[in-house]
């Protein structure tokens, strides 16, 4: 199905032209002679692995970086974009992959930030709220203008980002991986919104890894690899397979479906779980779930329906109000994170840069973060650097982590590579149960593919794995059984074989499974 917009006309003069853009950083050329344009009313997708130079190109467009070479034209006129305010002045908007929202401010305040007010120096939040409401009505973006950002789920935060752009009436909007956090139905709704925006003559630059979305939404697709433009095509002229190949530079394999049957042995059993949420309301209510040895249990649901709290409750990061969590018959509810870890549960957290890794620390230090005091790595309180380095070098190699050295600060690595070493670290302890929250969010195809294969091999080796993901494709690809949560309740568990997107989508929306 293609919803390609009839307004998009390749013949119309481009609203944006970036010509011969080159940007060098010490030791790396992030963009090399890249040419890119957008016509009014079109969705032009920018595709590429992490590190391919998409973000750099967009940061140049947004005035965050200055190109070393090349020119930028808007509506035929050359412009110098030296700061985001220049970009904003030219009606360019950007929705960053890491949301640019101030958590301690309300939705309306975030929207009003940086704008002049109708009341001069005094803010006019009532006016802003009204305008937000009319925008939400028109585009179907449900958001309470008076909520604080910290109270909102990821999906809601994204709606705020869109509202920010609409509020500013941007003509050219960059969307950096906007669907990573949405349900299929939400993606459909989201695309309707985007189409609504292009029908007004706005141009969109869409950055995504999801082939089906790229093929569905795009008018044109440009692929970047290693800082260079590989080519520009249209969905009609290409296939998903071809695109993946352009991106990665080699043939991409999809995961084989064959897998040994999982055991009946229950590894993790959750009964009657009740857990408090951040906003006073319980995040999980009367929640039952089990994970068996040698299976991947997928937990699907719209962002903010209790998934994060579920992972935190299991791993000891959030107090349990009621109910039990048993690991192979042993009660672990109420234990602290270290005790849970020692009991045999590993955890790949949702916010990898906040909870999973320390950006300033080296890759090696991050790898031994949890077990640096174990006998393997220390003696009498002193770290055994030789053992640590050898071990880390091996994991980095095994898990194909792309890093200059193991002493490189983690923050210098791409999201995919950070995630790879986190998963390497978590699987290394040979856990009985692995909780993986959003394991491939924001991770490029190559890395996602690799992470999936490692999760599957761990499964096949008998580990019980819970994959909590808002990416339904991922859940359907990986899981043996799929549990769906909605508003903190378990809507039911379906076998992979019986699951369809439609059925899961209904459950995610709160319709209980009839099974």
């Amino acid at each position: 199905m293609s919803t390609a917009n009839p307004v998009a006309q390749a013949d119309a003069p481009p609203m944006l032209e970036m010509r011969g853009i080159t940007k060098r950083f010490p030791g790396v050329i992030a963009n090399e002679n890249v040419t890119f344009d957008v016509h009014p009313g079109e969705v032009h997708t920018l595709l590429g692995e992490n590190g391919a130079g998409k973000s750099t190109l967009m940061k140049i467009l947004y005035g965050l970086y200055q190109p070393d070479e090349g020119e930028v034209f808007l509506n035929g006129e050359q412009v110098k974009l030296q700061s985001p305010s220049d970009a904003i002045e030219h009606r360019i908007g950007m929705i960053h992959q890491h949301f640019m929202l101030v958590p301690t401010l309300t939705v309306a305040e975030n929207v009003a930030l940086g704008l002049s007010s109708t009341r001069g120096p005094i803010t006019d939040l009532k006016h802003v709220s009204q305008k937000i409401k009319s925008l939400s009505d028109r585009y179907g973006l449900q958001v309470d203008p008076d909520s604080y950002i910290w109270q909102l789920a990821v999906g809601e935060r994204q709606r705020v980002e869109i509202i920010k752009a609409l509020y500013r009436d941007v003509q050219l909007l960059v969307l950096d991986e906007p669907t990573a956090v949405l349900t299929p139905q939400e993606v459909d709704d989201f695309f309707v919104i985007l189409r609504e925006m292009t029908s007004d003559g706005r141009g969109l630059i869409f950055i995504s890894h999801k082939m089906n979305e790229v093929m569905e939404l795009s008018d044109r697709i440009s692929v970047l690899r290693l800082g260079k433009l590989v080519g520009t095509t249209t969905p009609q002229q290409t296939t998903r397979q071809d695109l993946a190949q352009m991106m990665v530079g080699r043939e991409v394999q999809s995961i084989r479906a064959e897998r040994p049957a999982s055991s009946d042995q229950i590894a993790l059993n959750i009964q009657g779980l009740r857990v408090g949420g951040d906003r006073g309301v319980d995040a999980l209510v009367d929640f039952n779930l089990d994970v068996r040895q040698g299976e991947i249990l997928g937990v699907a649901g719209v962002s903010g329906n209790g998934q994060r709290e579920l992972a935190e409750a299991i791993t000891g990061l959030r107090p349990v109000k009621n109910g039990s969590i048993d690991l192979a018959g042993k009660a672990i509810a109420g234990l602290n994170p270290k005790q849970v870890r020692d009991a045999g549960i590993s955890f790949v957290p949702e916010e990898r840069m906040r909870d999973g890794a320390i950006g300033e620390f080296s890759v090696a230090d991050n790898i031994v973060l949890h077990n640096h005091s174990s006998e393997q790595f220390s003696r009498a309180g002193f770290l055994n650097f030789g053992a640590i380095r050898a071990h880390c070098a091996k994991l980095v190699e095994d898990f194909k982590v792309k890093t200059p050295t193991i002493d490189t600060p983690a923050k210098n690595l791409s999201g995919g590579n950070i995630q790879k070493f986190i998963i390497a670290r978590e699987l290394d302890s040979d856990p009985d149960v692995l909780i993986a929250a959003q394991p491939t969010r924001g991770v490029d195809i190559g890395a996602a593919e690799y992470i999936h294969s490692r999760l599957l091999s761990a499964r096949n080796a008998g580990t019980a794995i819970m994959v909590i993901s808002e990416d339904l494709d991922e859940v359907m690809l990986l899981a043996d059984r799929i549990a769906v949560v909605c508003q903190g309740r378990m809507m039911g568990v379906v076998d992979r074989a019986d699951a369809s997107r439609e059925k899961l989508g209904l459950m995610m929306a709160g319709v209980e499974s009839t099974d």
């Binding site: 960053h96 640019m100 940086g114 803010t123």
Partner: protein
Amino acid sequence: MSDILTTTVIVATIASGIRLATPFLLASLGEAIGQRSGVLNLGVDGVMLLGAFCSYYVVLETENIWLGVLTGIATGLIMGLFYAIITVPLRAEQGVSGIGIYLFGLGMSDLLFQKLVGTPLPIDQFEEWPVPVLSEIPIVGEMLFQHTPMVYIAFLLVPVVAFIINRTTFGLSVRAVGESPESADSLGVSVGKVRFATIMAGNSLAGLAGAALAIELGIFQQNLTNAMGFIAIALVYFGAWRAPGVMAGSLLFGMIGAIVLQAKTLGLIPRAWSDIAAMAPAIITILALIIVANRFRQPAALTKPYVRGD
């Protein structure tokens, strides 16, 4: 006991607490503005000292109190300019830079005092400005509305600062810059300009606090502030970075000081306990700080220089 705790004594004590609170309030309001934008300034005491000396000197020479007040503000602005340049475009570590400003203010105020004045000479002091009508109210009028102008200015600045922070577009930018400078930057808010402005505003208030102190006391001497500026920083944490909270902290500190003083004057505190009692404001404020501090989180970007695209 009942004879001693007369209305007169109570009124005098509360008025005294308000006076004691005033320089802390001015300085901590300024510090709170800076911290809301993510800038910690440990140099407050130094700015107060130099502000105090310069305003003292101007009043000594010109006998014009208000020119002295303006001089205090101007001194704060000049020191703020230095601090802003060091910490915003040059991105120096804020803790060390602040201590540098403090030491500069401490040393320079003393040096100038030695060179230009020498022997402490008294200067004109503020006179009380009873507020018409309000000061006639029995008891309350005397407590609240028979003060020197600096007291009114300091307390009127509380709603003003709160309004600017909470209700203006500039205040919104300040809060955003202190919490998530990258978000503010992405919306075209200049993190550097906002921080420059808050540093200048904060330092001008610190300079004003120094002027208020010197002119209230009518004298200057070495280290006149006696580390008031550092207590003002603690009061910002106490007040959870909000103007009313900062006011509550300053008043608590001033009131306890005044109560202890009054109790000593009346002989209610045995001599042997005198020195311990003198620590009461600090101890009680620290205890209150511990209780309050756990409920509020400091601005997420506090002390962090902003580097675009990092």
